[in-house]
């Protein structure tokens, strides 16, 4: 899931973005089946976004904030945490929509089958 060094050039990221926007099949510049932007967004989701959602969620709890008041300080209070959490929800929904669109573009059944069997099928 980690992008390789060779992938993280401006040129490559820009090319990947252009491919996405033009709805063009991905060129794979590394050995992985995942594109650069894809890897980046997945990493951000799992390592940044999900912890963020968990923390902004828990920061709204009168019970958990009694045990960990630092959560209130982190986000500037319960209401701020709530706003951030809601904004995060919208972003999450956007992620899912884009995710589903990309899967559809890559072939829904092939991707789902690969997800279950672990075997890639290379498209012509």
């Amino acid at each position: 899931m980690l992008p390789e060094r060779s992938e993280l050039t401006t040129a490559n990221i820009w090319a990947d973005l252009r491919d996405h926007l033009r709805w063009r099949s991905r060129r794979h510049t590394s050995g992985s089946a995942y594109g650069t932007l894809q890897k980046t967004s997945y990493l951000l989701l799992i390592c940044v976004f999900v912890p963020f959602m968990i923390l902004t969620g828990v920061a709204q709890s009168p019970g958990y904030t009694a045990a960990m008041p630092v959560l209130l300080d982190l986000f500037g209070g319960r209401q701020s945490a709530r706003t951030l959490h809601t904004i995060g929800t919208v972003l999450l929904v956007l992620f899912v929509v884009v995710h589903l669109l990309e899967i559809a573009a890559a072939g829904f059944l092939t991707r789902v089958r690969s997800m279950i069997t672990g075997k890639e099928s290379i498209r012509g």
Partner: protein
């Protein structure tokens, strides 16, 4: 169950919910949901300024009794500036002054060994049950003052229960009576609260 276990594990030191300063207080304090119970007995007492009102304490206590508002005010009081966190999404900070529920129960001789829950009934037909861990918490008080003034009717006069580590709906307004029991099974739908009977969580510490 999982939430409550993890929550209680973290709170085993009976830590206090954050207390704020006077400058953080919302004044006037929001009034939501029921603000004036249509109960005849309540209206009569409210009209008299709760002069003749009494809080019955029954069930598994050494000396079932009834305390007047003056008697409750005569018990050791606690003032706390805390946030009321509503399930509906809003929160507001208020300065509450009241008698710790623990002290009120002690005025009735304290709970017996068999006691497990304290059930609070209100004038607008709400009830909620609390376990002893919550009852013993220093911030669990029966508040009779809000923001330096007598608790207004809209905010739950004569007494409003504060349970600072749980959501707003456990902080009952218009407290009418207290019963100490060993089981919540036979009360309401047996879930331990009018809100949990309706599908909300009995334990609102999340």
């Amino acid at each position: 169950m999982l939430t409550m276990s993890s929550n209680r594990l973290l709170l085993s030191g009976q830590q206090l919910a954050r207390e704020y300063s006077l400058s953080d207080v919302a004044d006037p304090f929001p009034t939501w949901n029921q603000t004036n119970p249509k109960n005849d007995e309540y209206q009569r007492h409210a009209a008299e300024g709760f002069r003749n009102w009494q809080l019955p304490i029954s069930g598994l206590v050494a000396r079932p009794s009834a305390l007047s508002l003056d008697q409750i005010k005569g018990l050791a009081s606690r003032t706390q500036i805390t946030a009321h966190v509503c399930e509906q999404g809003w929160s507001a900070i208020g300065e509450w002054t009241g008698a710790p529920l623990q002290r009120v129960l002690e005025a009735a001789g304290g709970v017996t060994a068999a006691a497990r829950y304290v059930v609070v009934d209100t004038y607008d037909r709400w009830y909620e049950a609390y376990d002893l861990f919550e009852v013993e918490h220093p911030q669990t008080i029966l508040a009779y003052r809000l923001n330096g003034r007598d608790l207004p009717r809209g905010n739950g006069a004569p007494l409003r229960l504060r349970v600072e580590r749980q959501c707003g709906y456990k902080n009952l307004k218009f407290v009418k009576s207290i019963r100490v029991v060993d089981s919540i099974a036979g009360i309401g739908k047996g879930t331990g609260g009018i809100n949990s009977d309706a599908g909300f969580h009995w334990f609102a510490g999340v």
